[in-house]
């Protein structure tokens, strides 16, 4: 029987193009010759055992690894919208505006809910209250949080539940209008209900954003993503439609990993 691949995979444009990337921390290489295209307005999931390089790879897309002294690209390149992001003339601040990030542990600023979202805009010099009000509401709505917090916008973000904090961080990332959203295990600290809400949100957001998500939860990768990439020991082992990776992968290691027989 022929397995039909997910129809949503037709007609898509690559927004991130990675070519033969080698990446190292000091003398320890963490990524080996990774090449892959990530497509616009799709959800791409990275899976693989701990230490295989998922977070390292994700951080390459907005050069978060620049903050780690020993980290460096040894070879290959990453293009976003056709531009090599490691070129010396690339403005990293600008890059990170386009490529937002949400982390495993929600990390709201110790400020009000409102200010958490307005912060990024104020840095950009936007001070008009009407504009800030509007963007705050828009972002909270996009993050499916508005109804829960609209009456307590001036309260501290630290008083929110874990799931709300995580969605606030997503709202904050959306405020600067990124095109790509990177999420590193965004639900690992959340309960099933909050996880479901974030997954619904991801499903909603992919209409407008390209999302790359790292997750240790196979079911989550299967549920939320259009494509899945399996990494092992710094190498990209298999990358395909999520249907294929979970229903009929080509590689034995992938099959072993997704079916829990790995190691």
């Amino acid at each position: 029987m022929v397995t039909k691949t997910n129809s949503s995979l037709k007609e898509c444009t690559p927004i991130i193009e990675v070519s033969e990337l080698d990446f190292a921390y000091g003398s320890t290489q963490a990524l080996f010759n990774v090449s892959m295209d990530i497509y616009e307005k799709q959800v791409t999931a990275f899976i693989g055992p701990s230490g295989c390089g998922k977070s390292t790879f994700l951080r390459c897309f907005n050069r978060m690894n620049d903050l780690i002294e020993v980290a460096h690209t040894k070879g290959g390149n990453i293009k976003i919208n056709g531009v090599d992001i490691n070129k010396p003339d690339v403005d990293v601040i600008e890059l990170r505006k386009h490529v937002g990030m949400v982390f495993q542990k929600s990390n709201p600023f110790p400020k009000s809910i409102y200010d958490n979202i307005a912060y990024g805009l104020r840095i950009q010099g936007i001070k008009k209250k009407e504009i800030l009000d509007q963007v705050v509401e828009e972002c909270l709505r996009s993050a499916a949080l508005w109804d829960e917090v609209k009456d307590r916008l001036q309260e501290s973000a630290l008083g929110m539940s874990g799931g709300q904090q995580q969605r606030l961080c997503i709202a904050r990332a959306l405020a600067v209008k990124p095109r790509i959203l990177l999420m590193d295990e965004p639900c690992s600290a959340l309960d099933p209900v909050a996880t479901a809400k974030v997954e619904e949100l991801i499903h909603e957001l992919k209409k407008n954003y390209t999302i790359v998500i790292v997750t240790h939860n196979m079911q989550q990768a299967a549920r939320v993503s259009d494509r899945t990439a399996f990494f092992y020991l710094g190498k990209l082992i298999e990358y395909d439609a999520t249907d294929t990776i979970f229903m009929n992968p080509n590689n034995e290691q992938t099959e072993a990993y997704v079916s829990g027989r790995f190691g």
Partner: protein, 220 residues
């Protein structure tokens, strides 16, 4: 909370409904072909079960995909299991309809009409009302209706046995006759058997609806 992928379960459900409506349509057409000695109806029924077969494959594939990617639990798992089993029953209804149509058209082409000495029409009526009710019970989640279907099967079985007795004794009497007539009797025995099988599948469908609703198998 309704999740976005629950929509996919709805699609499986509606494919199953479409498939069963189609099977009922083909079956009824084949039966009418026989009862009304209508060669055109029989021949139309002959070409209609491809779509049913295609839907069965689709439902199986959707079911495997849903189990693999969505991690269903509780009644969602039952719906998937029922979709797989029911689509198989429905596919068999389509097959039986096909063979009724094939035998009917072969009799009609040779003899122009079928003498209807036996209770085919009556059996067919019960079998297709069971099938129709099973579909309604599935669509509406009507447990009482589903339960009411199960025991109706025995009447169809009885009529089939009666048909067999009558037709096979006629066969004995016809032994000296030409082979053509005997083969018509045998074909009608098979047609009767096909209708009896359709009622069996309708009964299975009813039991599957009961399982879907209650999580328990029906034991009569």
């Amino acid at each position: 909370m309704q999740r976005y992928f629950h929509e996919e379960l709805e699609q499986i459900r509606s494919k199953l409904i479409r498939m069963s409506e189609k099977a009922r349509e083909v079956g009824q057409l084949a039966l009418e072909g026989f009862v009304e000695c209508d060669l055109k109806k029989a021949e139309r029924a002959l070409v209609m079960d491809d779509e049913i077969d295609a839907l069965e494959v689709e439902i199986d594939r959707d079911a495997v995909r849903y189990i693999t990617l969505r991690g269903p639990v509780s009644s969602d798992v039952r719906l998937i299991l029922v979709a797989i089993k029911a689509s198989h029953d429905i596919e068999r209804v389509g097959d039986e309809a096909h063979s009724i149509a094939k035998r009917t058209s072969s009799i009609l082409r040779r003899e122009g009409k079928v003498f209807q000495p036996v209770a085919i029409a009556e059996m067919g009526e019960i079998a297709f009302s069971m099938l129709g009710d099973a579909i309604t019970a599935f669509i509406e989640g009507d447990l009482e209706l589903a339960r009411s279907i199960v025991h109706r099967d025995s009447e169809v079985n009885r009529l089939n046995r009666e048909n067999y007795k009558t037709l096979s004794s006629e066969l004995d009497g016809d032994l000296d006759n030409e082979l053509g007539e005997a083969s018509t009797q045998i074909k009608i025995i098979f047609i009767s058997k096909s209708i009896e099988r359709i009622a069996d599948h309708a009964k299975n469908l009813a039991e599957e609806v009961i399982y879907l609703q209650t999580g328990d198998y029906y034991n009569s």
